[in-house]
């Protein structure tokens, strides 16, 4: 799937925030890429830095207190070094965002029509009528019935699922090439969730977009992802093809994440322990304090470098590195993965309806 030139290439992305209690590193040297037409999922627990990572791409987090370093190459341009005014041309026009909570993400004082056409009118020289026509068309496409009448309704007059559809319309109005969707379905009812996912899938084909999808729900991942990036405490633990990783999760963290899925025989306990303090991350592997295979080597130095354990599957774990013994991890970790690997792999239905 990977082309020579990815649509979006993120390298060594580091985002820090200065706070009263010192510097907080939310994203720490992350690499990933998204190709046209491809869906990449960033997964991880709450607070693992996935949202910050995606919002760093177009610099929509507040700077200061935030500070972003690294390279974000979009169609060959380094977004992070672009001046703000040019960056604004990219936002909404070429790269669009959808946020987690459609209720909050829309301004309650304006009609949905106004909010959809806003991006269009900023970026393109269109008349009110044209903008309206396009917005109504989009509303129709995302499945809002009686779109031309509802154009003038206010957000509070829509249901939650409808709002998210409106948000999608709002994102698509500028014909973006990359859609960044930050947990767009989390706040929604499961049946609605499935509809939205299907809608996104359809639209991706239609608009030929890359989608960077953030979620903590592996069921969703299984349903839509082409590739996934597993993040933990600001670091990438593992990334690669969704099937590969579901079949052979390399990193202990990935393994434990997958174990939480009912299909993998989850016991409901979740991963023991909590996320490390982002102000003062542990030495060595971030996951070491919670990792059952952690050794002395895991607790010193930096996060281990990524190792390509299989084709296009990168893992950041001491045990795969030089002098490490992958079998420590694999032997026990593979158990559930092996037995039910096909489930994860075939799954188009996923756990969406549990």
């Amino acid at each position: 799937m990977a082309d020579d030139q990815s649509l979006l290439e993120v390298e060594d992305l580091t985002t820090t925030f200065s706070t009263d209690n010192g510097t907080l590193t939310a994203v720490d040297g992350v690499d990933f890429s998204v190709d046209t037409g491809e869906t990449v999922c960033i997964v991880g627990e709450s607070g693992s830095g996935k949202t910050v990572a995606t919002e760093s791409v177009t610099k929509i987090i507040k700077t200061p207190p935030g500070q972003i370093e690294g390279t974000v190459r979009y169609k060959g341009r380094d977004l992070l070094s672009l001046p703000e005014s040019e960056l604004r041309q990219v936002r909404g026009n070429e790269i669009a965002h959808i946020f987690q909570n459609p209720q909050e993400a829309m301004n309650h004082c304006y009609t949905v029509g106004w909010q959809i056409t806003e991006a269009l009118q900023i970026h393109q020289d269109v008349s009110d009528d044209e903008a309206r026509a396009k917005a109504v068309d989009l509303l129709d496409r995302v499945g809002i019935a009686n779109a031309s009448a509802r154009f003038d309704d206010y957000p509070h007059e829509f249901s939650g699922g409808q709002k998210q559809r409106v948000m999608i319309a709002m994102a698509l109005v500028g014909d973006p090439d990359l859609l960044i969707a930050d947990e767009p379905t989390t706040a929604l009812d499961v049946t609605v969730q499935a509809q939205i996912l299907r809608l996104l899938d359809d639209l991706q084909d239609e608009f030929d977009m890359g989608i960077l999808f953030v979620t903590h729900d592996l069921g969703v991942v299984a349903e839509i992802a082409d590739r996934i990036v597993v993040m933990y405490a600001g670091k990438v633990m593992e990334r690669g093809d969704v099937l590969d990783i579901f079949d052979h999760p390399g990193h202990p963290y990935t393994q434990q994440l997958l174990e939480c899925l009912p299909e993998f025989g989850a016991t409901g306990g979740g991963i023991p322990g909590t996320l490390p303090d982002p102000h003062d991350p542990p030495d060595g592997c971030r996951f070491a304090p919670r990792c059952e295979y952690a050794e002395e080597a895991c607790r010193t130095g930096e996060q281990p470098a990524e190792i390509e354990v299989a084709l296009d599957q990168h893992v950041s774990c001491v045990h795969y590195g030089p002098g490490g013994n992958p079998s420590i991890v694999r032997s026990e970790g593979l158990g559930p993965g092996d037995e039910s690997g096909s489930v994860g792999g075939d799954s188009e239905v996923g756990p969406a309806d549990d």
Binding site: I60, R88, N107, H108, C109, A119, G174
Partner: protein
């Protein structure tokens, strides 16, 4: 329920409220002794007549011997026919006294209101946009200063400094200068400044806190992701929702200040406006004028509240007319 019905319901209610307030005022004044009666008694005594009989005559003349409800209905009738009687302490019709005073009050309260309404939210949003920077602290400090310093205290000190020491402004208010003239602007500058510092603080604080909430709202992120420039984002996405909660407090606060602070400022700066008119009417026990000014302020307050309600309803699309 449509807007029209909502509007008429609100107006009707405003009428009821003003009627109640007017009634309370009437009863309060009815309970107080009428100075005119006393005056008549003294007069009679001076001429060797019978003061008690003269007092009785005076009461009759003013209809004070009528039962309370008769007087009340007469009074209500005159209120709504705008025939507010003769002001004894100023020797002019009450209506004329009120209009005359309003002329002077308007000269400083219109610029004051406009400045407050425009500057308050602007500075508030600006302050919120630069939250915790020195700009924010300076603006907040200014707001608190203006809010906390008693208007009359500030007024007399500024008058001392700019009027007596520096002689930049005249000390006695000159009613003779044209409304739109440099002299008028100079003599009104300090009163307007004092009032604006007093009122802007509250407006600013509300708009700062509210807009702080909105500028961190998800929809601001949405806007940014859409490529909206920061200026446009503040102008459209922050200012607009800030106006909603602001509208609920703004009118009330301005009204409270209108009565309280303006009276003191008028006393300090010797402006013959409504505040002083009211105060002097009370001191002189000029019943008609007291009622007249009370009525006026009541109408202003009721209309202000009405406007507040309407503005709020118009500004916030989430409010439907039958909620309120």
């Amino acid at each position: 329920m449509g807007f029209g019905r909502y509007l008429s319901a609100r107006v009707l209610w405003a009428g009821v409220v003003s009627l109640i307030i007017v009634t309370v005022t009437f009863l309060m004044l009815a309970a107080a002794p009428n100075p005119a009666v006393r005056q008549a008694a003294t007069q009679a005594a001076l001429q060797g007549g019978d003061p008690a009989a003269a007092a009785e005559r005076a009461r009759e003349l003013r209809g004070l011997n009528e039962p309370l409800h008769v007087r009340y209905f007469d009074f209500i009738q005159s209120v709504y026919t705008l025939d507010w009687g003769w002001s004894v302490s100023r020797s002019q019709p009450v209506m004329e006294a009120v209009t005359q005073a309003l002329y002077y009050t308007a000269q400083y309260s219109i610029p004051w209101t406009i400045l407050t309404i425009i500057l308050g939210p602007l500075v508030g949003v600006y302050s919120a946009a630069n939250m915790y920077s020195w700009k924010d602290h300076a603006a907040t400090g200014f707001a608190f200063f203006g809010y906390a310093i008693p208007n009359f205290f500030f007024g007399i000190i500024l008058l001392l400094v700019f009027g007596v020491w520096l002689e930049w402004i005249p000390i006695t208010y000159n009613t003779g200068v044209p409304v739109f003239s440099v002299e008028n602007a100079i003599q009104l500058a300090i009163p307007v400044f004092v009032l604006v510092t007093g009122s802007i603080g509250a407006v600013m604080r509300v708009s700062r806190n509210e807009s702080a909430e909105f500028q961190n709202a998800d929809f601001m992120k949405t806007a940014k992701a859409k490529g909206v420039s920061p200026l446009r984002a503040y102008a459209y996405h922050v200012m607009r929702p800030t106006l909603v909660p602001l509208s609920t407090t703004l009118v009330g606060q301005l009204l409270a200040l209108f009565l309280g602070a303006s009276l003191l400022v008028e006393v300090v700066f010797a402006i013959p406006g409504l505040g002083r008119l009211t105060y002097e009417a009370l001191i002189a026990q000029d019943t008609n004028l007291v009622l007249g000014t009370t009525l006026f302020f009541t109408f202003v307050a009721v209309i202000g509240n009405l406007i507040e309600d309407l503005v709020f309803t118009v500004l916030d699309p989430r409010i439907s007319y039958d909620d309120r």
